[in-house]
Subunit: 282 residues, 2 copies
């Protein structure tokens, strides 16, 4: 009898994200599960699988991968229609099905049938919520980096901080993910000398939130942009960060350090801190 | 014996999104399941539940909601640590657990233990992937609305279309979600008269992608911005859209209509069409 071939647990698996829509949910969901493993995965997106033909195409790709890899691919699926899902389920992959797993128990709990509707995860472009998001993106763009003081009363939050502390990506993320109108203003040496917040902001102090950052990290980021400049010098970064933090303390502005935080983490923290809890898309 | 009280299936349920991190995955996941039901839900975010104290706090909130609502809340959880998860599981809610449900079968399949690490779903800010995303956001901002022709060779995609066809939010979403450097250029009457793409773009035709939009929808959007203007007039919108589509056909530029599409759908379609498949975060 031949010895069984021992399979290396570390060999690269292929993972498919299969969706009848954009695949963003399948990807987010799969990613959050996969990051629990210290392994590398080969990842393949299969979005817009919304007809039987496309489902058979996906099935074929998965089976070809199984043949090529010699181990079964992992499938994260958000297919909603039973007929499409049942086609992909015939594959030789391991099926992780977000909808089937959770929708059926919920149908029982809620005492109603689900609609099994394709691509509902992203709100229709006619909805108020979608329009608010687009409006928030336009607002945040128009109010990026202190460009405009117009209409600040409409802002949900106003971010302040030294240049390159993370204000711009955070503002755009707040708008895009949560439909929050986020203006942002740099704190610059002029403001420190005047010992005052940039003009016009004083009136909106209740919705100002500050971002700070470790001076050495700031110097690193600025050096990528303007290498060797005074702007990027560690000493200057130390001065700006100290002054900015002193100003925020003096003005009683809530703030956090962005040094080791992703824009997702900064944004979620801001929502909590300023008790902004935007309605969840539905 | 008293008659059992019939519970209306349509009464508003409370839903909790519980996470040790930002809660974005729990929310995306829960949202995609909930949209399968034609019901309204009261939705509550509980992010950053990363200590036993906070888990007990969450447990208390859920049980209080059960008492107040008279029906059990639904919990979408991405808690990774077993000790935190087991606290929240003691609640009187219905527990939908993304990690436990899928990580355990995967451990078996992969032949390795998961790391059970908190908040790994969003990549660390030191990673190449994270830096690329921030760089892409900065690139897309600097190249918004034809602001700059510098460094176009670094663009992954260049969007063109008439003003208000959806180029800006799509560019920012491509950058933020996928780390794609997306420049965008408006097509304006000057370009139509010259019968040429905006200067400098000709050399990059292989990575240009067009957005069009139904003229009546465009007029609606522009009228919100500049009511009664020539810019917003239906006749002018018709002219611009026709000319833009004619130009894109003549130049052999791939394009799609953004009329009924969300920015997520437009972005995912562009990825497919120009065979851009950015590496998936890991």
């Amino acid at each position: 009898m031949s010895q069984p071939v021992e399979r290396s647990p570390a060999s690269t698996r292929t993972v498919f994200f299969v969706s009848d829509g954009t695949g963003i949910t399948a990807e987010t969901f799969g990613h959050s599960v996969l990051t629990q493993f210290e392994l590398r995965f080969k990842q393949v997106r299969l979005p817009f699988i919304d007809t039987p033909d496309k489902a058979y195409d996906a099935l074929r790709k998965i089976n070809e991968t199984f043949a090529a890899d010699g181990q079964r691919p992992i499938i994260f699926s958000t297919l909603v229609k039973a007929d499409l899902s049942s086609i992909v389920r015939q594959s030789q992959g391991m099926h992780m099905d977000l909808i089937q797993t959770f929708v059926e128990p919920l149908e029982q709990e809620l005492g109603v049938k689900s609609t099994h509707t394709i691509g509902r995860s992203h709100t229709s472009t006619d909805s108020e919520e979608y329009k608010n998001r687009i409006e928030a993106i336009n607002f945040s763009l128009a109010h990026d980096d202190g460009q405009s003081h117009k209409n600040l009363s409409a802002a949900d939050v106003i971010l302040v901080g030294v240049s390159r502390s993370g204000k711009t990506p955070t503002s755009l993320f707040l708008a895009m993910q949560y439909g929050i109108k986020a203006a942002n203003y740099p704190l610059i040496p002029d403001d420190f000398e005047r010992e005052k917040l940039p003009g016009g902001l004083q009136a909106y102090k209740h919705k100002i939130f500050g971002l700070s950052i470790a001076a050495d990290r700031l110097a690193e980021i600025r050096n990528e942009r303007l290498p060797g400049s005074k702007y990027a010098a560690l000493e200057n970064c130390r001065y700006e960060v100290n002054e900015a933090e002193r100003m925020m303390r003096r003005e009683g502005i809530r703030w956090m350090s962005s040094t080791t935080k992703s824009i997702e983490e900064i944004a979620a923290t801001i929502l909590q801190e300023i008790k902004l809890d935007p309605p969840i898309k539905d």
